[in-house]
């Protein structure tokens, strides 16, 4: 039996709660760092300096952010339709296959042809891989949570098969395709800046960051301004009302999963077209799963997702720098710290809500 809580003011919901959660996550992480005999302040300083303190670090941070934006948007779109897509990894892998196939075929063409085609291919392949579980849910009642996670394994097996037996040039030890021709390489941000006479330090950050921001705008329009997004939200909030309104929850489930899969697939733009310039095994590195935390933290809103993705970008790049400078803080420790942030920001999202709600409503009452 829980009392209905007075709604929180928007600023508290969007800014204060995430801030409290992140701060708490850092405090607890600090205790962990302290326990292994390192200074938490120094560790925090290294992380922040490493992630935001110099050009290359910022580049790496934004490069990670790009992945997390795509992964977070993918989760968010499905979430608005009441679906929990945890197959971002698999959709990204298949998106990578699509991008790589287009890039290998069209790489000798000018970039203006090859790149849009490869980007489109990544989205289409990811969309297909997301739509299948959507179809299974809509028509066969197989829960997407189960099917999407199983499709991750299928995607992974398919990717390895393709790399080992189809794409790999002979004599190469690593399961990897050949390096794309120039036309299919998405320029690095440093290169792009040079066209305008600007100098930027070298980093994996590439033009896909811009694509990610455009995707945010697209998702915002889709969800909050389009008729399709309206239908998604009705289905997600109240499937009975959807049927009443003449919206088919089944059809929307398939559409939402396809768009979600397309966004996850576009993660490959960053990794495959932007950084590696070839298809490799394991390029998704679990970013698809982090996308769930990003979407949760970002309240499934594109604006929130950008901020949450940036936070995780800082954690990833800062964590790498910490591993370089503090050998005692192993990468497993860094995973623990990242996990704490996910725990506090995602899973324990509602921990402070009741107290805060009480506090704020009291203050408002007094001041009124």
């Amino acid at each position: 039996m829980s009392a209905p809580l007075a709604p929180l003011p928007r600023w508290a919901d969007l800014a204060l709660i995430p801030l409290i959660n992140v701060t708490l996550a850092f405090l607890v992480s600090g205790l962990v760092v302290l326990a292994i005999g390192e200074s938490p302040l120094e560790a925090t300083a290294i992380m922040l300096r490493g992630a935001l303190g110099f050009g290359e670090g910022i580049g790496f941070t934004l490069y990670y952010t790009t992945n997390f934006i795509f992964a977070g948007l993918a989760v968010a779109v499905a979430f608005h339709a009441g679906l929990f897509n945890i197959g971002g990894e698999g959709q990204a892998m298949i998106g990578g296959v699509g991008a790589a196939m287009a890039a290998l075929l069209l790489g000798t063409m000018p970039s203006i042809v090859a790149l849009p085609a490869a980007i489109l291919a990544s989205a289409l392949f990811g969309a297909a891989w997301g739509a299948i579980p959507g179809w299974l849910q809509a028509r066969r009642g197989s829960h997407v949570v189960i099917t999407t996670i199983m499709f991750n394994f299928i995607a992974s097996a398919l990717l390895v098969y393709l790399l080992v037996d189809v794409f790999r040039p002979p004599g190469l030890m690593e399961p990897s395709s050949r390096v794309f021709d120039a036309g299919a390489k998405l320029p690095f941000m440093a290169q792009a800046a040079a066209w305008f006479g600007l100098r930027m330090p070298k980093s994996p950050l590439n033009l896909s960051f811009i694509v990610a921001l455009v995707a945010c705008l697209f998702v915002w329009l889709l969800i909050y301004r389009s008729r399709l997004g309206y239908a998604f939200r009705v289905v997600g909030a109240n499937p009975v009302a959807a049927r009443y309104a003449g919206i088919s929850p089944e059809r929307m489930t398939i559409y939402a999963m396809a768009i979600s899969g397309a966004l996850a697939g576009m993660m490959a733009i960053n990794e495959i077209l932007g950084v590696q310039h070839r298809l490799i095994v394991g390029f998704t590195s679990g970013y698809g799963f982090v996308g769930i935390a990003v979407a949760l933290m970002g309240r499934a809103h594109p604006g929130g997702i950008i901020l949450a993705a940036l936070l995780f970008g800082v954690l990833y790049q800062g964590g790498t720098e910490l591993a370089f400078d503090k050998p005692t803080i192993t990468r497993d420790m860094i995973v623990v710290i990242q996990g704490l942030v996910i725990l506090f920001a995602g899973a324990l999202e509602f921990m402070f809500r009741p107290a805060l709600s009480r506090l704020l409503s009291r203050n408002v009452a007094e001041s009124a």
Partner: protein
Amino acid sequence: MSEKAIQLLSIDKRFGAVHANRAIDLDVKKGTIHGIIGENGAGKSTLMSILYGFYEADSGEIRINGERKRIRSSADAIAAGIGMVHQHFMLVEPMSVVENVMLGAEGGTLTMRGMEKARAEIRRLGADYGLLVDPDAIVGELSVGLQQRVEIIKALFRGAEILILDEPTGVLTPAEAEQLFEVLAELRRQGRTILLITHKLKEIMAITDEVSVMRRGEMVAHRKTAETNPRELAALMVGREIAHPQKGASQAPGAPLLEVENLAVKDARGVMRVSDVSFMVRAGEIVGIAGVSGNGQSELIEAISGMIRRNGGTVTLCGQPVPAEADAAETRNLGLAHVPEDRLRMGLVTSFSAYESAILGHQDRPQFSKGPLIDRDAAIADTEDKMKRFDVRPPDPLLKTANFSGGNQQKIVLAREIETGPDVLIVAQPTRGVDVGAIAFIHRQILDLKAKGKAILLVSVELDEIFALTDRVLVMCGGRVVGERITDETDQNEIGLLMAGMEAAPAIGTPAEMRP
């Protein structure tokens, strides 16, 4: 002078800008049934939540049996001898009655001994107050009326001397409500105090000793029930006299606009919910469907409107046959409007802004579209306009749907469905959970539509409403139409008998498969 069981002294509670309770004073005498009546949003629920420890009052004092108490949680309330029966039951459906009753009062790690004791206590309470229920029955398999009994037993088991019931008859059949009132009378006879929250004047008049009226967060009147009448109470609730619309003389019926023939509907488990239903509604006519909730009315209108598939029969709208696979969007295009029976479950999306709820079902109309996007400005302007004409308060299209009161939510739905100019309107339970002032308004809208020559199918469990509005009435029982009458040539007694399938109402609740 009997002593006071509850005394509230200038209770005050604010939620942000909303002043939910303003300096409330209330005296409830021991061993009485005390009614609290008021429109939705008048502050009744907030006041009871304060009494039961869900909220703490910003200021003011609570005295129980003359003693000052601080009630900060439901545990405090239980300790003070207060029990509450919520509108929506707080029961664990897969557990047995005895397990539910013991929940939170297990008395030790091992439940065996406590269980035996509880079983005996449930039998004793049953015998003493007429609250008979099998302690080992699974709660989910009991009828709604019996589940409510379990809630009452739960409160008594915890030693409640004061029982708060929040809209207890909202979910009951008339027969079940009758039985509940007998139980309440017995409880009163044995010295317990009962606070009854309701917006049904009939119930207040039937069972309470005293009544307090709330309006807009304030306690506006206290009356002895014997010294007042429904008219006065209604006026006190809304702050003015209410003019009930007259349905006027029946007009000559026009062409049939809605024709249903041999309609059959099975549910997901293959159980026949509607069988062989045929009727027609003509232009300028209101046809009512009466029946105890759960006798196929919901399935009937959902099948007509295309929300669910029919398993046989035909539906014709304005002379055009409705294909069997038509969805709600298609029937809407054929000229049907539908005010659903449960606005929160299907008529609105509570998490949406009002303007988004106000285009539900109409989101694809060119009027609200800008290519693939929704023409937000047009939708907002349209909603604002409808809100003004239907007196929705507050008239703010951007406010979250959940933040409107029930009556205002219903007006949003009604405005949306009526304003599209449909030829046929299906309207189900239009005044459920709606306050007195809004009821009159809603009835007037429906009658206006009839005057414009539209065909209206009204489904209601409130016989008063059926009689106030319809020209003809069909009675449904067990998924069939068991009778048809001209409204002016029958009475509530006859219809009531038909609703019960020509038999006396079932003794205890309705069988599980007939509940909604």
